[in-house]
Amino acid sequence: MHELSIVASIVDTVTESAAAYKGARVVEVRLRVGALASVVEDSLQFCYGIATEGTALEGSRLVVNVLPVVMHCVPCGADVELEGVQSFRCPKCGEPCFDLRQGRELEIEAIEIDEMDEVEEKR
Protein backbone atom coordinates (compact mmCIF):
# COMPACT_ATOMS: atom_id res chain seq x y z
CA MET A 1 0.00 0.00 0.00
CA HIS A 2 2.84 2.37 0.72
CA GLU A 3 5.06 0.82 -1.93
CA LEU A 4 5.24 4.09 -3.86
CA SER A 5 6.73 5.96 -0.91
CA ILE A 6 9.14 3.08 -0.30
CA VAL A 7 10.27 3.21 -3.91
CA ALA A 8 10.63 7.00 -3.72
CA SER A 9 12.92 6.55 -0.75
CA ILE A 10 14.94 3.93 -2.65
CA VAL A 11 15.35 6.32 -5.59
CA ASP A 12 16.61 9.08 -3.26
CA THR A 13 19.11 6.86 -1.46
CA VAL A 14 20.44 5.19 -4.60
CA THR A 15 20.70 8.47 -6.53
CA GLU A 16 22.74 9.91 -3.68
CA SER A 17 25.03 6.88 -3.42
CA ALA A 18 25.54 6.55 -7.17
CA ALA A 19 26.47 10.23 -7.47
CA ALA A 20 29.82 9.39 -5.87
CA TYR A 21 30.77 7.49 -9.04
CA LYS A 22 31.42 9.54 -12.15
CA GLY A 23 28.93 9.03 -14.97
CA ALA A 24 27.66 5.91 -13.29
CA ARG A 25 24.54 4.19 -14.50
CA VAL A 26 22.59 2.04 -12.06
CA VAL A 27 22.06 -1.46 -13.40
CA GLU A 28 20.57 -3.25 -10.43
CA VAL A 29 19.19 -2.49 -6.97
CA ARG A 30 19.06 -5.37 -4.46
CA LEU A 31 16.68 -5.32 -1.53
CA ARG A 32 16.42 -7.49 1.56
CA VAL A 33 12.80 -7.73 2.56
CA GLY A 34 11.62 -9.72 5.56
CA ALA A 35 8.52 -11.87 5.21
CA LEU A 36 6.88 -9.60 7.81
CA ALA A 37 7.84 -6.31 6.17
CA SER A 38 4.34 -5.89 4.69
CA VAL A 39 5.41 -5.01 1.19
CA VAL A 40 4.22 -6.82 -1.88
CA GLU A 41 6.86 -7.52 -4.51
CA ASP A 42 4.56 -7.13 -7.53
CA SER A 43 3.47 -3.78 -6.32
CA LEU A 44 7.09 -2.74 -5.61
CA GLN A 45 8.12 -3.73 -9.14
CA PHE A 46 5.21 -1.84 -10.63
CA CYS A 47 5.98 1.34 -8.69
CA TYR A 48 9.68 0.96 -9.41
CA GLY A 49 9.15 1.20 -13.17
CA ILE A 50 7.23 4.43 -12.75
CA ALA A 51 9.28 6.10 -10.03
CA THR A 52 12.65 5.50 -11.69
CA GLU A 53 11.72 7.17 -14.98
CA GLY A 54 14.00 10.11 -15.69
CA THR A 55 16.32 9.25 -12.77
CA ALA A 56 19.76 7.62 -12.59
CA LEU A 57 17.90 4.37 -11.89
CA GLU A 58 15.89 4.35 -15.09
CA GLY A 59 15.95 0.94 -16.76
CA SER A 60 17.62 -0.78 -13.80
CA ARG A 61 16.51 -4.12 -12.33
CA LEU A 62 14.99 -4.39 -8.88
CA VAL A 63 15.90 -7.64 -7.16
CA VAL A 64 13.91 -8.49 -4.04
CA ASN A 65 15.40 -11.12 -1.73
CA VAL A 66 12.74 -12.25 0.70
CA LEU A 67 14.01 -13.33 4.12
CA PRO A 68 12.02 -15.92 6.07
CA VAL A 69 10.97 -15.24 9.64
CA VAL A 70 13.49 -16.50 12.19
CA MET A 71 12.40 -16.86 15.83
CA HIS A 72 14.34 -17.86 18.89
CA CYS A 73 12.88 -21.02 20.43
CA VAL A 74 13.58 -21.20 24.15
CA PRO A 75 12.96 -24.96 24.64
CA CYS A 76 15.18 -25.79 21.65
CA GLY A 77 17.72 -23.14 22.65
CA ALA A 78 18.10 -22.27 18.99
CA ASP A 79 17.04 -19.88 16.25
CA VAL A 80 14.48 -21.55 14.03
CA GLU A 81 13.16 -20.61 10.61
CA LEU A 82 9.38 -20.49 10.24
CA GLU A 83 7.79 -22.06 7.18
CA GLY A 84 5.28 -19.23 6.81
CA VAL A 85 3.65 -16.41 8.74
CA GLN A 86 0.45 -18.20 9.75
CA SER A 87 1.81 -19.72 12.93
CA PHE A 88 4.52 -18.53 15.28
CA ARG A 89 5.34 -21.95 16.68
CA CYS A 90 8.67 -23.69 16.51
CA PRO A 91 8.61 -26.12 13.54
CA LYS A 92 10.84 -28.50 15.54
CA CYS A 93 9.10 -28.73 18.94
CA GLY A 94 5.73 -27.02 18.35
CA GLU A 95 6.10 -24.55 21.22
CA PRO A 96 5.07 -20.90 20.73
CA CYS A 97 7.93 -18.51 19.96
CA PHE A 98 8.08 -14.96 21.31
CA ASP A 99 11.39 -13.63 20.18
CA LEU A 100 11.71 -12.44 16.58
CA ARG A 101 15.25 -12.52 15.19
CA GLN A 102 14.59 -11.88 11.48
CA GLY A 103 11.63 -11.00 9.31
CA ARG A 104 10.98 -7.26 9.48
CA GLU A 105 13.95 -6.13 7.37
CA LEU A 106 13.36 -3.60 4.66
CA GLU A 107 16.70 -2.47 3.33
CA ILE A 108 18.76 -1.74 0.28
CA GLU A 109 21.48 -4.36 0.38
CA ALA A 110 23.58 -3.24 -2.56
CA ILE A 111 23.53 -1.59 -5.96
CA GLU A 112 25.29 -2.60 -9.13
CA ILE A 113 26.53 0.26 -11.26
CA ASP A 114 28.31 0.66 -14.58
CA GLU A 115 31.06 3.18 -14.16
CA MET A 116 32.57 5.10 -17.02
CA ASP A 117 36.29 4.45 -17.49
CA GLU A 118 38.81 7.32 -17.58
CA VAL A 119 39.38 6.96 -21.34
CA GLU A 120 35.71 7.03 -22.22
CA GLU A 121 35.28 10.03 -20.03
CA LYS A 122 37.88 12.04 -21.92
CA ARG A 123 36.29 11.43 -25.32
Binding site: M1, L106, D114
Partner: protein, 222 residues
Protein backbone atom coordinates in the same frame (compact mmCIF):
# COMPACT_ATOMS: atom_id res chain seq x y z
CA UNK B 1 32.92 0.51 -18.64
CA UNK B 2 33.50 -1.04 -15.24
CA UNK B 3 30.81 -2.83 -13.31
CA UNK B 4 30.91 -2.30 -9.61
CA UNK B 5 28.84 -3.60 -6.71
CA UNK B 6 28.35 -1.06 -3.96
CA UNK B 7 27.20 -2.45 -0.60
CA UNK B 8 24.73 -0.07 0.99
CA UNK B 9 22.97 -2.00 3.78
CA UNK B 10 20.65 0.95 4.28
CA UNK B 11 17.28 0.65 6.02
CA UNK B 12 14.62 2.12 3.78
CA UNK B 13 12.60 3.38 6.75
CA UNK B 14 15.71 4.44 8.65
CA UNK B 15 14.65 8.07 8.83
CA UNK B 16 11.32 7.12 10.40
CA UNK B 17 13.00 4.67 12.78
CA UNK B 18 15.41 7.36 13.96
CA UNK B 19 12.67 9.93 14.47
CA UNK B 20 10.59 7.34 16.34
CA UNK B 21 13.50 6.48 18.61
CA UNK B 22 13.83 10.18 19.45
CA UNK B 23 10.13 10.45 20.22
CA UNK B 24 10.22 7.30 22.38
CA UNK B 25 13.06 8.72 24.46
CA UNK B 26 11.16 12.00 24.87
CA UNK B 27 7.98 10.20 25.95
CA UNK B 28 9.87 8.08 28.48
CA UNK B 29 11.56 11.18 29.86
CA UNK B 30 8.25 12.96 30.23
CA UNK B 31 6.71 9.90 31.88
CA UNK B 32 3.79 9.70 29.45
CA UNK B 33 2.49 6.30 28.32
CA UNK B 34 1.92 6.40 24.56
CA UNK B 35 -0.35 3.93 22.78
CA UNK B 36 -0.78 3.49 19.02
CA UNK B 37 -4.19 2.08 18.07
CA UNK B 38 -4.43 0.29 14.73
CA UNK B 39 -7.28 -1.52 12.99
CA UNK B 40 -9.34 -1.66 9.80
CA UNK B 41 -11.62 1.29 9.15
CA UNK B 42 -14.76 1.11 11.28
CA UNK B 43 -13.52 -1.39 13.88
CA UNK B 44 -14.24 0.98 16.74
CA UNK B 45 -11.00 2.80 17.56
CA UNK B 46 -12.71 6.14 18.05
CA UNK B 47 -15.58 4.59 20.03
CA UNK B 48 -13.15 2.80 22.38
CA UNK B 49 -11.12 5.98 22.79
CA UNK B 50 -14.20 8.11 23.52
CA UNK B 51 -14.99 5.85 26.47
CA UNK B 52 -11.37 5.45 27.52
CA UNK B 53 -10.66 9.20 27.59
CA UNK B 54 -13.84 9.88 29.52
CA UNK B 55 -13.22 7.14 32.09
CA UNK B 56 -9.55 7.99 32.61
CA UNK B 57 -10.36 11.66 33.01
CA UNK B 58 -13.06 10.80 35.56
CA UNK B 59 -10.37 8.92 37.51
CA UNK B 60 -8.14 11.97 37.54
CA UNK B 61 -5.68 10.91 34.85
CA UNK B 62 -4.27 13.48 32.44
CA UNK B 63 -4.97 12.27 28.92
CA UNK B 64 -4.62 13.52 25.35
CA UNK B 65 -5.11 12.11 21.88
CA UNK B 66 -3.80 12.46 18.34
CA UNK B 67 -6.12 11.25 15.62
CA UNK B 68 -5.04 10.35 12.12
CA UNK B 69 -7.65 10.66 9.45
CA UNK B 70 -7.48 10.64 5.68
CA UNK B 71 -9.72 13.66 5.10
CA UNK B 72 -12.13 14.66 7.87
CA UNK B 73 -11.96 15.88 11.45
CA UNK B 74 -15.03 13.94 12.62
CA UNK B 75 -13.09 11.61 14.91
CA UNK B 76 -11.18 14.48 16.52
CA UNK B 77 -14.46 16.24 17.27
CA UNK B 78 -15.93 13.06 18.78
CA UNK B 79 -12.91 12.66 21.05
CA UNK B 80 -12.72 16.32 22.02
CA UNK B 81 -16.18 15.95 23.56
CA UNK B 82 -14.43 14.16 26.45
CA UNK B 83 -12.78 17.47 27.33
CA UNK B 84 -9.30 16.05 26.75
CA UNK B 85 -6.87 17.88 24.45
CA UNK B 86 -7.18 16.32 21.00
CA UNK B 87 -5.36 17.06 17.79
CA UNK B 88 -6.24 15.92 14.34
CA UNK B 89 -3.58 14.74 11.90
CA UNK B 90 -5.01 15.02 8.43
CA UNK B 91 -2.84 12.78 6.25
CA UNK B 92 -4.43 13.93 2.97
CA UNK B 93 -4.74 10.47 1.58
CA UNK B 94 -1.60 8.89 3.07
CA UNK B 95 -2.72 5.55 4.49
CA UNK B 96 -0.65 5.58 7.70
CA UNK B 97 0.82 7.91 10.30
CA UNK B 98 4.58 8.29 10.54
CA UNK B 99 6.92 9.57 13.22
CA UNK B 100 7.42 12.93 11.52
CA UNK B 101 3.67 13.67 11.58
CA UNK B 102 3.55 12.78 15.27
CA UNK B 103 6.52 15.01 16.10
CA UNK B 104 4.99 17.97 14.27
CA UNK B 105 1.65 17.65 16.02
CA UNK B 106 3.17 17.56 19.50
CA UNK B 107 4.38 21.14 19.16
CA UNK B 108 3.39 23.21 22.16
CA UNK B 109 2.09 20.28 24.20
CA UNK B 110 3.62 19.87 27.64
CA UNK B 111 4.24 16.12 27.62
CA UNK B 112 5.36 16.13 31.24
CA UNK B 113 1.82 17.16 32.16
CA UNK B 114 0.30 14.02 30.62
CA UNK B 115 -0.18 10.49 31.93
CA UNK B 116 -1.48 8.94 28.71
CA UNK B 117 -1.29 9.90 25.05
CA UNK B 118 -3.41 7.88 22.64
CA UNK B 119 -2.70 7.86 18.93
CA UNK B 120 -5.52 6.69 16.65
CA UNK B 121 -3.83 5.53 13.46
CA UNK B 122 -5.40 5.62 10.01
CA UNK B 123 -7.77 2.67 9.46
CA UNK B 124 -5.49 0.22 7.66
CA UNK B 125 -4.05 -3.12 8.78
CA UNK B 126 -1.13 -3.08 6.35
CA UNK B 127 1.28 -0.14 6.32
CA UNK B 128 0.94 1.18 9.87
CA UNK B 129 2.78 -1.98 10.94
CA UNK B 130 5.97 -0.67 9.29
CA UNK B 131 5.90 2.80 10.82
CA UNK B 132 7.12 3.07 14.39
CA UNK B 133 5.58 6.15 16.04
CA UNK B 134 7.67 5.94 19.19
CA UNK B 135 4.78 4.35 21.07
CA UNK B 136 5.28 2.20 24.15
CA UNK B 137 2.37 -0.06 23.30
CA UNK B 138 0.83 -0.94 19.97
CA UNK B 139 -2.78 -2.05 20.25
CA UNK B 140 -4.49 -3.87 17.40
CA UNK B 141 -8.28 -3.89 17.34
CA UNK B 142 -10.63 -6.26 15.55
CA UNK B 143 -14.39 -6.29 15.77
CA UNK B 144 -16.65 -9.32 16.02
CA UNK B 145 -18.14 -8.35 12.64
CA UNK B 146 -14.83 -8.71 10.78
CA UNK B 147 -14.27 -12.45 10.86
CA UNK B 148 -12.18 -14.60 13.14
CA UNK B 149 -9.44 -15.09 10.55
CA UNK B 150 -8.36 -11.44 10.50
CA UNK B 151 -5.14 -12.21 12.43
CA UNK B 152 -4.20 -14.84 9.83
CA UNK B 153 -4.87 -12.41 6.99
CA UNK B 154 -2.81 -9.64 8.58
CA UNK B 155 -0.08 -11.50 10.46
CA UNK B 156 2.40 -8.64 10.15
CA UNK B 157 0.17 -6.27 12.06
CA UNK B 158 -0.94 -8.77 14.68
CA UNK B 159 2.60 -9.98 15.21
CA UNK B 160 3.90 -6.46 15.74
CA UNK B 161 1.22 -5.56 18.32
CA UNK B 162 1.58 -5.73 22.12
CA UNK B 163 -2.12 -6.07 22.95
CA UNK B 164 -5.34 -6.84 21.11
CA UNK B 165 -8.87 -5.58 21.70
CA UNK B 166 -11.87 -7.42 20.29
CA UNK B 167 -14.52 -4.72 19.89
CA UNK B 168 -18.32 -4.67 19.47
CA UNK B 169 -18.74 -7.65 21.77
CA UNK B 170 -22.42 -6.66 22.14
CA UNK B 171 -22.82 -7.89 18.55
CA UNK B 172 -21.03 -11.21 19.12
CA UNK B 173 -24.17 -13.34 19.36
CA UNK B 174 -26.09 -11.79 16.44
CA UNK B 175 -22.97 -12.07 14.27
CA UNK B 176 -22.34 -15.68 15.23
CA UNK B 177 -18.87 -14.66 16.39
CA UNK B 178 -16.69 -17.70 17.12
CA UNK B 179 -14.76 -16.44 20.12
CA UNK B 180 -12.57 -19.52 20.63
CA UNK B 181 -11.35 -19.45 17.04
CA UNK B 182 -10.62 -15.73 17.17
CA UNK B 183 -8.59 -16.10 20.38
CA UNK B 184 -6.75 -19.12 18.98
CA UNK B 185 -5.87 -17.24 15.77
CA UNK B 186 -4.54 -14.23 17.67
CA UNK B 187 -2.49 -16.52 19.85
CA UNK B 188 -1.13 -18.38 16.85
CA UNK B 189 0.25 -15.15 15.36
CA UNK B 190 1.34 -13.48 18.58
CA UNK B 191 1.64 -16.09 21.33
CA UNK B 192 0.82 -14.79 24.77
CA UNK B 193 -0.51 -11.40 23.64
CA UNK B 194 -2.90 -9.73 26.11
CA UNK B 195 -6.42 -9.76 24.69
CA UNK B 196 -9.35 -7.59 25.81
CA UNK B 197 -12.99 -7.96 24.79
CA UNK B 198 -14.98 -4.74 24.89
CA UNK B 199 -18.21 -3.11 23.87
CA UNK B 200 -18.33 0.64 23.51
CA UNK B 201 -22.08 0.33 23.49
CA UNK B 202 -22.55 -1.43 26.86
CA UNK B 203 -19.19 -0.63 28.44
CA UNK B 204 -18.52 -4.35 28.91
CA UNK B 205 -14.84 -5.21 29.29
CA UNK B 206 -13.82 -1.62 30.01
CA UNK B 207 -12.66 -2.36 33.54
CA UNK B 208 -10.12 -4.94 32.36
CA UNK B 209 -8.89 -2.60 29.62
CA UNK B 210 -8.57 0.38 31.96
CA UNK B 211 -6.86 -1.85 34.50
CA UNK B 212 -4.31 -2.87 31.88
CA UNK B 213 -3.63 0.78 31.03
CA UNK B 214 -3.11 1.69 34.68
CA UNK B 215 -0.85 -1.31 35.19
CA UNK B 216 1.26 -0.44 32.14
CA UNK B 217 1.47 3.17 33.25
CA UNK B 218 2.58 2.17 36.75
CA UNK B 219 5.02 -0.43 35.43
CA UNK B 220 6.92 2.21 33.50
CA UNK B 221 6.89 4.90 36.15
CA UNK B 222 10.19 5.73 37.79
Amino acid sequence: MTTRIVELRRGILKKNDELAAGLRAGFANAGVLVLNLVSSPGTGKTALLELTLRELKARGARVAALVGDLETDNDARRLAASGAPVRQINTHGICHLDAEMIGKHLDGWELGGLDYLFIENVGNLVCPSSYDLGEAIRVVLLSVTEGEDKPLKYPTMFNSADAAVITKMDLAAPCGFDRETALRNINEIRPGMRIFETSAKTGAGMEAWLGYLAEQRAGRDH
